[in-house]
């Protein structure tokens, strides 16, 4: 009897917490998304799909979807492209390569708030590092974070700076799994470096690329900390990414119904992306084993 119970006892603590803080909240959000509540009133009337209708009719949601998509579409290829090139250089095991790898990897494990604060200074108008550097070339001050056309680029830059070390490390692992003989064969054939990179390296790290592509897209849809610290979604909504909008609706305007409706939409979107990921990866990953 006890023997039969053993596995359940082992999984119980984890399962209880997963149920309490991951699965039950999904249903709670769904329930709240059909209600009208602001934390203050004692009752929360059922309003049907009204929150969804209002959300889908609002300028803010579409702006936010657009900004988030833009962020993903611009930042992900940039990150992956740069990471692959750098990884191809850093794949060799020498002391200086290890040091450089360490330096590049460091930001990805460092506090995002710290990085956001440091880069708020770097890009600040009057005393920032970037404008000071531009100044030495005789260029004028740029309002990086106050200009709606630039702020998103700044966030993309900061996010890339922070995350690229992770991508590089993953790529290096992927590259190291490529058999040396392939390169040796290519060298015998007199392949040029660029040619080898395009014909051998790129296709063979495809599985890694897919993996990184999907996780970084999903990550892009969940960016919040740098937005909250650096721009609050501004200027004029130019960096109002989805999770920031969720936070603003839920914990600044306290429109709990509409906030929950947005959470549900975000959930559907991301689970959709994740399913797409498993499909793609399931189909395209042949090389890995």
């Amino acid at each position: 009897m006890l023997r039969k119970l053993t596995p359940y006892l082992f999984v119980a603590p984890l399962m209880v917490f997963i149920a309490l803080f991951t699965y039950i909240p999904i249903f709670a959000s769904l329930n709240l998304s059909f209600r009208e509540w602001n934390f203050l009133s004692p009752d929360m009337p059922f309003v049907g799909f009204r929150n969804y209708e209002q959300l889908l009719a609002s300028r803010d949601l579409w702006n936010s979807l657009w900004v988030t998509t833009l962020f993903a579409v611009l930042s992900v290829p940039l990150r992956l492209g740069l990471a692959l090139v750098i990884a191809a250089y850093l794949v060799r095991e020498t002391v200086h390569v290890r040091l450089l790898r360490g330096a590049l990897f460091l930001p990805s494990v460092t506090s995002t708030v710290s990085i956001a604060v440091v880069f708020s200074w770097v890009f600040s108008t009057d005393y920032g590092m970037v404008n000071a550097i531009l100044g030495t070339f005789g260029l004028g001050k740029v309002q990086w974070l106050q200009n709606p056309h630039l702020a998103l680029w700044v966030l993309i830059f900061v996010n890339t700076w922070k995350q690229i070390g992770y991508d590089i490390v993953i790529y290096i692992a992927g590259l190291q799994a490529i058999p040396r003989e392939l390169y040796d064969a290519a060298a015998v054939d007199g392949g040029k470096r660029l040619h080898v990179f395009r014909r051998i390296t790129m296709p063979l790290v495809m599985p890694t690329t897919y993996f990184l592509l999907v996780i970084s897209v999903i990550e892009a849809f969940q960016v919040f900390t740098i937005v909250n610290v650096m721009t609050h979604g501004g200027p004029a909504g130019a960096t109002d990414m989805l999770v920031n909008l969720l936070y603003e609706i839920g914990f600044v305007l306290f429109d709990i119904g509409r906030g929950s409706a947005l959470a549900v939409l975000l959930f559907i979107l991301l689970v959709g992306l994740a399913i797409l990921k498993s499909r793609i990866i399931g189909r395209k990953v042949h090389y890995e084993a």
């Binding site: 934390f39 203050l40 009133s41 108008t125 309002q143 106050q146 979604g233 200027p235 004029a236 909504g237």
Partner: protein, 419 residues
């Protein structure tokens, strides 16, 4: 020997009992407020004065952030049952809490308090909704126009330059930006939300009708005022966008002598005086189409969720904070308006009036000062206004179209919160 021992024991017993007695009588009032820096120091003095006079009450004060932060944190605190006992609430945004029965009606306290007759009408009025008194004013203010005389002189402007109309202000700001732009000095700080409201009133309009609650965001004069404000940033470029995305930035730049003109609450007077010294000049707000300024600032409310004895203690504090002594200290330490008729006669206030030129500008504009709407939707409107203003001032959206959209959204929201 044994007698001595007995006496000692008896004495310590008495001391112990006495200390327990005190411990039991002490009431702690959790108080959230919005004052830091020099205003925070002035508040500390007021609290210290109260605690000295009421040793059985302990005020546990916490600086929460600006008015927006307080509103957000208070709203989040309700389901978590972690609201404070007393809280500073901005005078247009407590309706949300009052109308959800979260604030105690202070009318019974107030009616029994001699303080009632000492408060100026303008100050008392802002705490009332539908005849019920929810907050007692603490830091009342109006916006004023500050400028830096040194910057004016360097730009070749006399200290008497007229700054009555929008055009006159634009002209002065342009001169400063042209002459001193290369030194990193800009003409005028982008107006913060309180000043924006004031400028709408100076253009003979309102955001929300204070009597009927009608939303006036799309009235031609309101739109015109916003067009002018936005033009300072996007067309004339005499205001830095830094002050648009974070309005405190505009004030900080003025204090750092990087900006010539700033329209802001009179509550910034003492801080500005410390930073600028004799170069600080103060004028009334412009009268573009009308001379009318909003009464701003905040009062202290008591949460209905607190225990009765804590509420009583909190009211004692509120009453003390509005007393002539406390109010005079506060006025002299910050520049906020005197709310008590007797404060101005006290030495500390007299000295401030005599030695701090300009601290009285706000007092003199009181005849044209008006209370504003405080309906439930105002909280939402003010939170949303920031985003709208950014879009207009940074040239992302057409002003007229944005204000019409904003008005429509606010009306929809009002309908939502009222049913």
């Amino acid at each position: 020997m044994s007698q001595k021992l007995q006496t000692t024991i008896a004495a310590s017993m008495i001391a112990l009992l006495a200390s327990m007695g005190v411990a039991e009588a002490a009431t702690t009032v959790k108080f959230w407020h919005s004052f830091n820096k020099s205003n925070g120091e002035a508040l500390d003095k007021v609290i210290a004065g109260f605690e000295a006079a009421n040793p059985d009450i302990d005020i546990e004060a916490e600086y929460v952030g600006n008015y927006n932060d307080i509103i957000a944190k208070l709203q989040a605190a309700i389901p978590a049952r972690r609201a404070p006992d007393a809280v500073i609430l901005e005078v247009t945004r407590y309706g949300l809490f009052a109308n959800n029965n979260l604030l105690t009606d202070l009318t019974p306290y107030f009616d029994a308090d001699p303080l009632k007759d000492d408060l100026y009408d303008y100050a008392r009025e802002v705490g009332v909704i539908d005849g019920k008194n929810y907050v007692v004013p603490f830091n009342s203010s109006t916006p004023v126009l500050y400028f830096n005389k040194d910057i004016f002189a360097r730009a070749g402007l006399s200290a008497d330059t007229p700054l009555k109309t929008f055009d006159e202000i634009t002209a002065a700001a342009k001169t400063i930006s042209e002459k001193l732009g290369s030194e990193g000095v800009s003409g005028i700080a982008a107006p913060g939300q309180f000043a924006r409201w004031g400028l709408v009133m100076a253009n003979d309009s309102e955001m929300v009708d204070p009597k009927t609650g009608e939303i006036l965001l799309d009235k031609p004069n309101t739109i015109e005022a916003y067009q002018w404000m936005a033009s300072l940033v996007k067309d004339d470029k005499v205001s830095s966008p830094d002050g648009v995305t974070d309005e405190d930035n505009g004030r900080d730049a003025f204090l750092a002598k990087k900006v010539g003109i700033m329209m802001n609450s009179t509550g910034n007077y003492v801080g500005a005086k410390k930073a600028l010294g004799d170069n600080l000049a103060v004028r009334p707000m412009p009268c573009n189409k009308a001379c009318s300024v909003p009464i701003g600032g905040a009062g202290i409310g008591i949460m209905s969720t607190s225990e009765k004895d804590v509420q009583d203690a909190a009211y004692k504090f509120i009453s003390y904070a509005a007393s002539p002594e406390a109010n005079a200290t506060w006025f002299a330490g910050t520049g906020y308006l005197p709310i008590n008729k007797k404060s101005a006669a006290l030495p500390v206030a007299k000295e401030a009036l005599a030695t701090q030129p300009g601290i009285d500008v706000a007092i003199e504009s009181l005849p044209v000062a008006h209370g504003r709407a405080r309906t439930t939707v105002v909280t939402w409107m003010r939170t949303t206004e920031y985003k709208m203003w950014e879009a207009m001032a940074l040239g992302q959206r057409n002003v007229e179209e944005t204000m019409k959209d904003f008005a429509a959204q606010t009306r929809a929201e009002e309908k939502r919160v009222s049913n």
